[in-house]
């Protein structure tokens, strides 16, 4: 388990393929892909740059997908969704003493809000996500 100490108690994340269930891994992979488009203004900046590139190349398929990603990123920002927290919520085993096992779409959003509510910095969330993914992907197959 990967433990992240926070002011309101430790967050324990699965980082071992012998502990993480296949269904949770599936949710993690899907959410990782879904939120890879980014949920902050840096991501929006990247989408606009790539959109301009695709339009300049007259690649309308690429431009259309990129525009879709731009709108999705903006929607996430408007709704206050933290992509890294949602993806990490798929791997969260417990918050303090409380077991976290709701990996439905709505359950993940609630868990993500609880993760950010612990006061953990975005930098630590990103580092934890990278570390967990590296450990799980490194020996998953």
């Amino acid at each position: 388990m990967l433990t992240l100490a926070t002011p309101t108690g430790p967050l324990c994340f699965y980082d071992d393929i012998r502990q993480l269930s296949a269904a949770r891994w599936q949710r993690f992979s899907a959410k990782y892909l879904e939120y890879s488009i980014g949920t902050n203004l840096f991501a929006v900046d990247g989408h606009i740059s790539r959109l301009a590139l695709f339009l300049g190349q007259r690649n309308m398929t690429g431009a259309s997908e990129q525009f879709n990603h731009l709108v999705t990123s903006l929607n996430h920002i408007r709704q206050g969704v933290n992509g890294e927290a949602v993806v990490l919520a798929c791997l969260l085993a417990s918050i303090g003493e409380e077991v976290c096992d709701d990996v439905s779409d709505s359950g993940l959003l609630i868990t993500a809000e609880r993760i950010t509510g612990t006061g953990v910095s975005q930098h630590r969330l990103v580092k934890t996500l990278e570390r967990a993914k590296k450990r799980l992907s490194g020996n998953s197959h």
């Binding site: 993480l20 599936q26 990129q66």
Partner: protein, 102 residues
């Protein structure tokens, strides 16, 4: 001329390389034009964004979900109960075993 700190040195070296390439290309646009276009096409192809539209059946994560469900059904047919609850290690171990046994 160059900084002694590593990241700044790398950045200055990169800028110098870009300027050298730019000067070489500007001097011979006909020679490098087709090759550059080819490189640009490949890079653009690599940048092609994935389809993540929720309403589209070709959606990248829906395809991954469907593939996982197919693997679960295959395992259930072989007598494995609730395969999704198995650890990732056990799940792929069983998928590999039954795939090799065919």
């Amino acid at each position: 001329m160059f900084s002694t700190t590593a990241p700044l040195f790398d950045e200055q070296l990169r800028q110098r390389l870009v300027l050298t390439c730019d000067a070489a290309i500007s001097a011979n646009p006909d020679q490098f034009g087709p090759a550059l276009q080819e490189v640009e096409d490949v890079l653009m192809q690599m940048m092609q964004p994935p389809n993540l539209r929720a309403s589209d059946p070709g959606n990248a994560f829906l395809a991954a979900e469907a593939s996982f469900e197919r693997a679960c059904v295959m395992l259930e047919e072989k007598g494995v109960s609730n395969p999704g609850a198995l650890s990732l290690y056990q799940f792929y171990g069983r998928v590999k075993y039954f795939s090799e046994k065919k």
